[in-house]
Each structure stands twice: as C-alpha cells, then as structure tokens.
C-alpha cells in the first residue's frame, strides 16, 4: 500500500463487447486493492475511455476485450490518446484479445505494437497485475518528477 490519495484508473470493456462478469470482478478487485476505479462498464468506445481519463485525471486506462474483436476495436488507441493530449497515460489491456486461440506471445507483441504498455491473458493473476500497475504508475510519476 502507498501513502497519499489512491491512484485513479479507468476501467471498461471496449467495442461492442457485452461481457460484464469479468468487469464486475475487476471493479471490485481494484477497488479493494486501493485504487480509485472509474468503471465505464461494457461497450465503451476509445473516446469514452479518453474522456473519462481526462475528467478523472486517471493514471491508467484498463481495457478489457473478451469477445474477439479486440484487434479491430483497439487499433489506433494510443494514437488517439496522443491526439487528445493523453500521450503519457498507461494503457493496459486484457482478456480474450483476438479471435480464436493464438500463441499469447504473438498476441502480446501485436498489442504492444499498438501502443499498449501491458497485455494480459484471461488467466492472469490479478494480484500480480495490480502490483505491476502500482509500480508502473509510480515509475511514471518519478519519471515526470
């Protein structure tokens, strides 16, 4: 646990994706883990994520995609952030990111190339993810300071 006010993060499921169970869990989990969670729920567009991040001064955007269209829905996300002056925000993405079963290393490379800082498979250990998130946020703060 860190001192100071909790880090704010934006959470949501991108595109036309309706899978709401994991989202419910992530909300509860990151809240318990001491983050301030702005949860946009399912079917969130890139601009809605960015709007919410600007409004809440969030340090990170956590994108879920379960339904397989992640590749299409996430394309250009980092570019759009930069356009809208949010170049420095951390972008995390997780879930069943592509259609079918492709080697995770390949999927990870693909999404990193799109500008995501970290990419997670569905079976990720959430404690580990939260630890990474906290570390990344704090490193970014240091870098800025």
């Amino acid at each position: 646990m860190t001192a100071g006010p909790p880090h704010c993060i934006v959470l949501g499921v991108i595109g036309a994706d309706c899978h709401s169970v994991g989202n419910t869990i992530l909300d509860a989990f990151f809240t318990d883990a001491g983050f301030k969670v702005v949860n946009l729920g399912v079917m969130v567009s890139q601009d809605e994520f960015i709007d919410a991040a600007i409004e809440s001064d969030a340090k990170a955007i956590l994108v879920s995609s379960l339904y397989g269209h992640g590749e299409i829905d996430c394309a250009g996300f980092r570019g759009r952030c930069i356009e809208r002056g949010l170049g420095g925000v951390l972008l995390y993405v997780g879930g069943n990111l592509v259609v079918g079963r492709r080697p995770f290393a390949e999927v990870e490379a693909k999404f990193k190339a799109m500008g995501f800082d970290r990419v997670f498979p569905p079976g990720v250990d959430l404690d580990a993810a939260a630890a990474l998130l906290r570390a990344d946020i704090e490193e970014a703060a240091h870098a800025r300071a």
Binding site: A16, S20, V21, M43, Y67, G68, H69, V99
Partner: protein, 482 residues
C-alpha cells in the same frame, strides 16, 4: 407498449423501413421465400427435427459456429456435420451485426480476407445478404438456426428467414439484458414482437419456423427461477404473434438435483402458463446448455465439464443440447475442437440414451416445487405490474427490480440481485434485491447460505460470489476461500 398480435398489413411500413437498414435488405422477397421454405426437404426443417427428437426420445446435438467468410463458414458447418455428427446446425452471428453495426462488420470481412484469418467472432449474415445465406442453406444437410444476441434483430430475421433458416434464437429480454448496455426494454419488446410476427407469418403460410428464447441469460450463476420466468414470458410473447414451434432453454447450473428439478419445472410450468393463456396449438421442447460460465483453461478439465453437462441433459430428457468445446476458455474454437466437443457429448448422451433415473424423490420434488413457487411469485408480479399485459409488465417489472438478471450489463436491469451457491452447490440468492419473493422463500435461501458459511467458517459475503464465479474454471463447483 402492449403484447397484442401485430396487424400484418400495418407492419408493412415498418418492414420497408427495416429493409432499408442495409443494402442487402432489398433482396428480401417474402412470397419467394415462403415458397422456398415449403420446398425445403424435411431433413432441413428445424421444427420437424424438434418434433422427431421429442417423439423418439432423442437429444439433438447442436454446436455454436460462425466465421466471417461464406466459404469458410460452409466448410466449418460441413465439418461439424460430418466429423462432429451434429444433428442440427447453427450460424453464430458476429458481435457487430448483433449491434447493427454493419459498417464495422464490413470492415471485419475485408480485414479477414486481407489477413487470411478470422477477425470477426461470427458470421455477418446481414452483410452477406439473402443469397449469401442461402448458399449455406444449400450446402449443408441439416436444419439451420440463427444464433446471435441481437437486441434489434429485425433485419437479421428478415434476411436469414428469407434465405431459408428454419429456426431463430433470442427474445426481447434474453437478447437485450445480457447483451446490451442501453437498449430500453420497450424498444427490444417492440422489435422482437416484429420478429415473432414475421416468424408467425411464415408459419401461417405453411413455412414452419422454430423460435428459441435464450435461457442462460448471462450464463453465470443464474438462479433457475429467473431464467425460467423470463423464458415463459418470452414464450408467451412469441405465441401471441403466431409462433407455434417453441424451444425454451436452460443453462446448466452445476448441481445435479437443481438442474434436473429446473428442467422439470420449466417444462411443466411453461405448459401450464401457455394453456392458461389460451394457447393449444403449439409444440414445446427444451434445450439444455452445457455450462455457460467461465470454463477451465485446461482441455482435459474442459472435457469433463462438457461431459457432465451432457449427462445432465440426457437424464433431464432435453430435446436438444448446446455443446461447448475444449477451447471454451481460450477463444473461438477450431473446427476440430468444436467437433471434439460434439463427439464427447455424443458418447455421453448415447450411453445414457435409454437410462431412466427416477427423479421423483424428495430432494428433487422439494427443489422443483421451490422453483415453481418462485417462478409464480415472479410471474404474478409481472402480470400485476402490466395490469394484465405481459409486455407492459416486463418493462415495469425490470424498472422496479421485480425482474433482475445477475451480472447483466444493461442499464435497464437493476443489478441488485446476487446469486451464490449453497453448501451443496445449489444456486441460491445472496441478495434478492426487489424480487417479489415470500418471506418463506427468502428465509429458505438465507438458511442454505448460512449452512455453507458454517461449513466454510467464514461469513456469507460478496467474496463468496466472486469465488463462485471462478469456481468451475478452477476445477470446483463452489468457490473456496483463496
């Protein structure tokens, strides 16, 4: 907002407008379509297959399957027909089409062509149009059903029914609340009345169409009473529009007694309500869905979950079973994995084919009676809220939380209900929100949960719900403290 039968003539203006929704809409020719249906060989008619299943005590096997390109999709279905020995075939629609985002679907088709692998999670039937869909109908030897999750499925229904599909999944509640975020129930009820009326029109013309409300809802720890009540309501709404072949669904919960009791209660109570509403000329069948929540990643464990679902479906004497695959937790399955799910299921249902496990013992009766009285509480409340009109009742009931689907994404769902397993794995209510249950029912649920809390030496609390959500994917039924 009311649920009386739509006047076919009056509906024509709306139809014209719907068909404008995407250029392919123009190709719909109703008369030709009806003639096409009437010329279909018996082996391709869904309602007929459901009748045979019931008469001959069979469980029909149906996979889920859909890929973006027509030729690939045909290859996939043929493989499932031959290697998988599927009895009836699906065409699973991609998620853009489900949201009427045909432009994005078009982009998905293009990208899939360009990148030489599927980028859509299903078959974009509207974009492919009547002719494209008809290629599928002509290429396979089994009845075809459209499986989707579309709040406004009017154009999808126009195109696929015109193409010769003989079954159409979904309903005003079950394809809205779990599948959409901000579609008002008034709207989905209106749009599904259209779909049902269209199916009813085909039926009137001698082209029978099977309709199947989506029983499992969010697929995650749904208390049987909620799924059953919604299924019965959607059945009533469909019958009102002239539908005659109806398949109600139930998603495996995991406790054997509860699953058998729920299937039994569903069949009995649906008949009761349909008859009470004055319907006589309908054919009712049940479909059982293998576990619809999170699956184990390990294939061996996934096979086990599949087999257990198959066993329950067989013992419950479902007419149809929707089959999962060993890749469920990982992604859209390959055709091989899909056929493996079918073959594992086939082995079980065939082995259990003629076995009768008497389920009229006390535990079973108690659970079945409980479910029926819960469903009655729910349906009484909807009926009252609607002042005698089911459609109106649904809208008001959801607004007031008298109907409430756990974990659903829709803002028109209160989301106050949280399910939890009891010590034997029966799905009970941890928070029942505003569900209109008697004190007796509430107490019973609470007692069963307290029993679990004692066994696990921890208080009944939200953590248990979380643990239960993960449980099956982690190899158990009930969640355990981490």
């Amino acid at each position: 907002m009311s649920s009386t039968r739509l006047d076919w003539e009056e509906m024509q203006t709306e139809r014209e407008q719907v068909l404008q929704g995407w250029p392919t809409g123009n190709a719909v020719r109703l008369e030709e379509a009806v003639a096409y249906h009437r010329a279909l060989p018996v082996g391709k008619r869904f309602p007929q297959a459901m009748r045979v299943a019931q008469a001959e005590n069979l469980v029909l096997l149906q996979p889920r399957a859909g890929v973006p390109l027509i030729d690939e999709h045909i290859k996939l279905l043929k493989y499932l027909e031959t290697e998988g020995e599927a009895d009836v075939l699906p065409t699973t629609i991609d998620a853009y089409t489900r949201q009427n985002r045909y432009t994005e679907a078009a982009r998905g088709i293009e990208m899939s062509l360009a990148e030489r692998h599927a980028l859509l999670n299903g078959f974009p039937a509207v974009n492919h149009g009547v002719d494209g869909c008809r290629k599928i109908v002509e290429s396979v030897g089994r009845p075809l059903q459209v499986r989707h999750g579309t709040p406004d499925a009017r154009l999808l229904a126009e195109i696929t029914l015109a193409a010769g599909f003989t079954s159409f999944e979904g309903g005003a509640i079950s394809y809205n609340i779990p599948y959409a975020k901000d579609v008002p129930l008034e709207k989905s009820i209106r749009d599904w009345r259209y779909v049902d009326r269209l199916a009813g029109f085909y039926e009137d013309q001698g082209a029978a169409i099977n309709r199947e409300p989506f029983g499992p809802l969010t697929g995650t720890l749904i208390p049987p009473c909620i799924g059953n009540a919604i299924g019965i309501i959607e059945g009533l709404l469909a019958l009102q529009q002239g539908v005659k072949s109806l398949t109600l669904g139930y998603g495996q919960g995991g406790n054997l007694i509860q699953d058998l009791a729920a299937m039994h209660a569903l069949r009995e109570q649906a008949h009761e309500y349909f008859r009470a509403a004055g319907f006589v000329d309908f054919h009712l069948t049940l479909v059982f869905h293998q576990w619809m929540g999170g699956f184990p990643e390990d294939e061996a464990k996934a096979f086990a979950v599949i087999a257990l679902g198959a066993a329950v479906a067989a013992l419950a004497k479902a007419e149809k079973i929707i089959v999962k695959t060993p890749y469920e937790a990982l992604g859209i399955p390959t055709k091989e994995a899909n056929a493996q799910g079918l073959r594992a299921t086939r082995q079980i249902v065939t082995m259990l084919q003629d076995q009768v496990v008497r389920t009229d013992h006390e535990a079973m009766r108690r659970e079945s009676d409980l479910i029926k009285s819960e469903v009655k509480c729910l349906l009484d409340a909807v009926w009252q809220a609607g002042e005698g009109d089911w459609a109106r009742g649904v809208v008001r009931a959801f607004a007031d939380g008298l109907l409430d689907v756990p974990f659903a994404p829709s803002i028109y769902n209160r989301g106050r209900v949280l399910p939890m397993r009891d010590n034997e794995g029966f799905i009970r209510l941890f928070r029942s929100g505003a569900l209109p249950f008697s004190a007796e029912i509430r107490d019973y649920h609470r007692e069963r949960l307290e029993e679990r809390a004692r066994a696990e030496r921890r208080p009944v609390g939200f953590q248990m719900v979380t643990d239960d959500i993960y449980a099956i994917s982690k190899g158990r039924l009930k969640g355990r403290p981490r």
